[in-house]
Amino acid sequence: MSENLKRTFLDEVSSLKSLADAANLRVKYLGKKGIITAKIKSLSSLSPEERRVAGREINELKQFIEEECERKESLLKSAELKGRLLAEAIDITLPGKAVSFGHEHPLSRTLREVVDIFTRMGFDVQEGPEVELDCYNFEALNIPKDHPARDMQDTFYISEDIVLRTHTSPVQVRVMEKKKPPLRFIAPGKVYRCDADVTHSPMFHQVEGLMVDKDITFSHLKGVLIAFIHQMFGPDIPVRFRPSYFPFTEPSAEIDMGCILCKSAGCRVCKGTGWLEILGAGMVNPKVLENVGYDSEEYTGFAFGMGIERITLLKYSIDDIRLLFENDIRFLRQF
């Protein structure tokens, strides 16, 4: 009899489709008025001997049914969850909600890289006014009025004695006037020259540097600038120093690095020479040191300067400087 019951139960269990059916089945067999409960109740009418045998049998059956119910319920539960999750599926190929970060201007990026390299080398950062006195921009730097060297820097004038600074060198003078050596700093900032074409902008950015102490030499100038170029453009870039002229340095040098576009093979950008001019530099002219009250016998120093626009144009292969100041977002968002 119990075998029949077991078979019937198993048939019913296997045909279960939902958790609700499973609950019903459980009630049908194990509920207060369930088949098994009824059987257990009916045991009391049996003799003690029969009760012992039938009791064990019925208890085993009960335990079997309970286990089967549980097993089935758990199966149904996971099947049902699976179904629900499947129904909840989204199209994961749709785009995410756009969160766009802004883009740093390429000039800021270059400027930041340059400043970082020098501050890592222990250079401080100094600033000064963009509208500057003629005497700081020129005279203190050994560029008197009516000197042909003024032609090197086409100047915007505000008045006879006030100009838009043509380089950040006046910052050097202002700092030296206030502090005694040793000095080691760079001066980044905007500068202005009366010139506009594909490679010149009337406003551009420079980073200039100065180091003054006892026994600073041309060798040190070379050491620091080669280290900078190798940090900025790569450790294998060739670098050369050639004589040049700046009124505020003596000796003066222009520094070329191997063309990064053609790997020194010669191209349109480097005019076939394989070299790109990247920095101007020199040993601070003793007259400049004397102008700020330093003893040029005791102290020597080097100064250097570079154009951030030029580096940026080279670095990103930008062929027109004006793009840098149009602020077209199609341009800005490339960086």
Binding site: L94, S108, D151, M203, F218, F241, P243, P251
Partner: protein, 694 residues
């Protein structure tokens, strides 16, 4: 300067290829910018720095090569055979400060005509057009020796006299008119150095001759001038007249006081050879003689400046061939007499540069300096830099692209923004020589540039803009002192409604305001508030001044429709949000020193209430009242809904707010919260005259 390689070889017999010579010159400081092959010759384009006028000549460049290669310089033979007739001709220098030497020669009976081919070709290769043999010879010698000469038609010089002086000194005139040989009549000031005959001016000294005394095809007799004019005087004249010639270019950089005689002789010889003239004796007035500068040079100093120890011999070898006279040599150093063509050498450092140049910059070893550790910058400067960096970063993270604009603007841009006359933004710093009228002033606000950027981007179909810029504004104080330079930060936001997948209806004003608040939070500014702005270019109902610590730090708002219309901005949606702030003020108010507050131990309880109030009542007022009311357990208040219309009466609005209660000492009971909230709501209703929305 264009230099023929063949011509160079007349003076220095280099065996090296033109390419090798070009490389050598570049590494000597005479950068070769281009190399051009013409007619089996090579023309070098030399970039001569302003300190080296001696290298504005074939001879000067040959001298450099001679020094570098150790090959002797071949000088042209200058044995001038002239008729030793007494010259019936006088030269008077009236101002020796402006003209230290004036020499000349007379050539009779020459035939003006075309130059021989060899001369024409050399001139043309060097970029000078052939005119006639007489003019060509002066140009030829100019290129060869770097010394400008001028030839006058002798027959036009009146009174057998040449005078050198300014109008002021010569005739007492303060200014006058003069016609130069290019045919233009020029206004000449009383300070301009002129060449005169007995009656009238005949040339602007060192710049250009006059049309009346020009050599023509009819000329038979000439007077050749070779003089030294003071550089600054020539430069001033050339600048004032806006007249730059091969002659003025060289005179203003400084010419060779001694070699001018050689140049004159060379020209005279060529006049004889090429134009068949008969040479007469010369005249040479030399009131201020040349005395060479003497410079002490110490070996020890060379080592200290260059960082490389050179032997005495190495040093002297470098200087050999430059024409410097070295004397009084001993183990400490030596003295140098500087030749007249090297006006750039004036002190020991200049000689050290010559040594380094000839030794080769590339042979000087590179070495990193040893330096003492230390920090120079003041703490404020460093932290200002950090704050600036953080502000930039927060705007970048919020999706704003960084703009960099030129510092210029036009005054009309302030008119477009209706900036009133008394506004500080009208205190303009004017550029005297702008490249364009639109760039005639230094900007006093960053807004116009961002608007230009907007217009540019819209014109190129870019319909969603988030731009910011950090830069200086320039406010004039008075015209005689430096202006005030104020750091500003500005942003512009424009976004057209586009079909998007995910909706976000936040009004633009509040998008930007939220970003501004985030920025403030990032740098520790919390006490700021917003009040209605009266900026004339903003929508009066949709703009605010940003107040920090009781003063205006900037503004945020929608550009007024009037501005949009005036600028002819073709946008689908006229709402453009701009923001500008005083960055310096923000930096000074930033407080970033955080102090840890203990995390709360007890749970919070929230209550929401909606009240109906007058529609004009501003949110800030309600929040203010909520915060004022000190119950001791209000942790936070926020507005979460504003509603108008429907069953809310006309002129009214519903404001729903949320209050979060928490006690630092215990878990609050419902009753406590209920009681407190009721008191709070009653207080708000009393203050606002509102009623609870049911």
């Amino acid at each position: 300067m264009r230099v023929s390689f063949d011509w160079l070889k007349d003076f220095v017999k280099v065996a090296a290829t033109p390419e090798a010579v070009a490389e050598k010159l570049t590494m000597l400081g005479l950068e070769i910018e281009a190399l051009e092959r013409i007619d089996g010759d090579v023309v070098l384009e030399v970039n001569v720095t302003p300190n080296r006028p001696d290298c504005l000549s074939i001879m000067g460049i040959a001298r450099e090569l001679s020094a570098a290669y150790g090959i002797p310089l071949a000088f042209p033979d200058l044995n001038v055979v002239s008729e030793s007739k007494e010259l019936d001709f006088n030269v008077e220098i009236l101002e020796a400060d402006l003209c230290r030497r004036y020499a000349g020669r007379i050539v009779h009976n020459l035939k003006v005509g075309p130059s021989p081919d060899w001369m024409k070709k050399r001139l043309e290769k060097c970029g000078i057009r052939s005119i006639n043999n007489v003019v060509d010879i002066t140009n030829y010698v100019l290129l060869e020796f770097g010394h400008p000469l001028h030839a006058f038609d002798l027959s036009t010089i009146r009174g057998h006299l040449i005078r050198v002086g300014t109008p002021k000194v010569t005739t007492g005139q303060s200014n006058m008119k003069f016609t130069t040989l290019d045919g233009s009549e020029r206004e000449v000031s009383g300070e301009t150095l002129l060449i005169w005959d007995a009656e009238r001016p005949i040339a602007i000294a060192g710049v250009m001759g006059g049309s009346d005394t020009e050599v023509t095809e009819k000329t038979v007799d000439i007077f050749i001038e070779s003089a030294y004019f003071e550089p600054t005087s020539i430069r001033r004249t050339s600048k004032t007249l806006g007249l730059k010639t091969e002659a003025s270019y060289r005179f203003e950089r400084g010419t060779d006081l001694k070699a001018l005689k050689k140049a004159l002789d060379r020209a005279a010889m060529l006049m004889h050879e090429v134009a068949g003239g008969t040479l007469y004796g010369k005249i040479d007035i030399y009131p201020k003689r040349f005395y060479p500068k003497q410079i002490n040079v110490r070996y020890e100093r060379i080592g200290r400046l260059l960082g490389v120890k050179l032997s005495e011999q190495e040093v002297l070898d470098c200087l050999q061939g430059l024409g410097l006279e070295i004397f009084e040599c001993n183990s400490e150093g030596f003295k140098v007499k500087v030749p007249p063509y090297r006006g750039d050498i004036a002190m020991e450092a200049d000689i050290i540069e010559e040594v380094a140049r000839l030794y080769g910059y590339d042979r000087i070893p590179a070495e990193l300096p040893k330096a003492r550790l230390g920090v120079d910058s003041r703490k404020e400067i460093v932290s200002a830099r950090e704050i600036r960096h953080d502000i930039r970063e927060s705007l970048l993270k919020c999706g704003f692209d960084e703009a960099i604009n030129l510092s210029f603007m036009g005054a009309y841009e302030l008119d477009l923004l209706s900036i009133p006359a008394e506004d500080a933004r009208r205190k303009l710093v004017q550029v005297r020589n702008p490249l364009r009228e639109e760039d005639a002033y230094m900007r006093t606000t960053l807004v116009p540039a961002l608007i230009r950027n907007l217009i540019h981007n819209l014109a190129h179909g870019n319909r969603e803009l988030r731009l910011f810029e950090m830069a200086k504004a320039f406010i004039d104080i008075d015209h005689n002192s430096l202006p005030e330079e104020k750091e500003r930060i500005a942003a512009l936001y424009y976004r057209e409604k586009t079909k998007t997948l995910y909706k976000d209806d936040t009004p633009d004003f509040f998008v930007v305001k939220g970003i501004g608040d985030a920025m403030f939070e990032g740098i520790g500014i919390s006490g700021h508030s917003y009040v209605r702005s009266d900026e004339p270019f903003l929508h009066p109902g949709r703009s605010a001044n940003i107040m920090i610590g009781g003063s205006k730090a900037g503004f945020i708002g929608e550009l007024s429709p009037a501005v949009i219309e005036a600028l002819d901005i073709k946008a689908q949606k006229p709402s453009v949000i701009v923001m500008e702030m005083d960055l310096g003020a923000i930096i000074s108010l930033s407080k970033r020193d955080a102090i840890y507050k203990q995390l709360p131990k007890y749970p919070f309880v929230e209550r929401d209430t909606a009240i109906i109030v007058d529609a004009r009542l501003q949110a800030a007022e309600i929040i203010g009242h909520l915060k004022d009311h000190a119950s001791g357990i209000v942790e936070d208040v926020s507005i979460f809904d504003i509603y108008q219309g429907g069953n809310i009466g006309v002129g009214k609005k519903s404001i729903a707010f949320n209050v979060r209660y928490r006690s630092p000492e215990k878990t609050l009971t419902d009753q406590e919260v209920e009681d407190t909230h009721k008191v709070l709501v009653d207080y708000i209703l009393e203050k606002t005259g509102g009623q609870v929305r049911i």
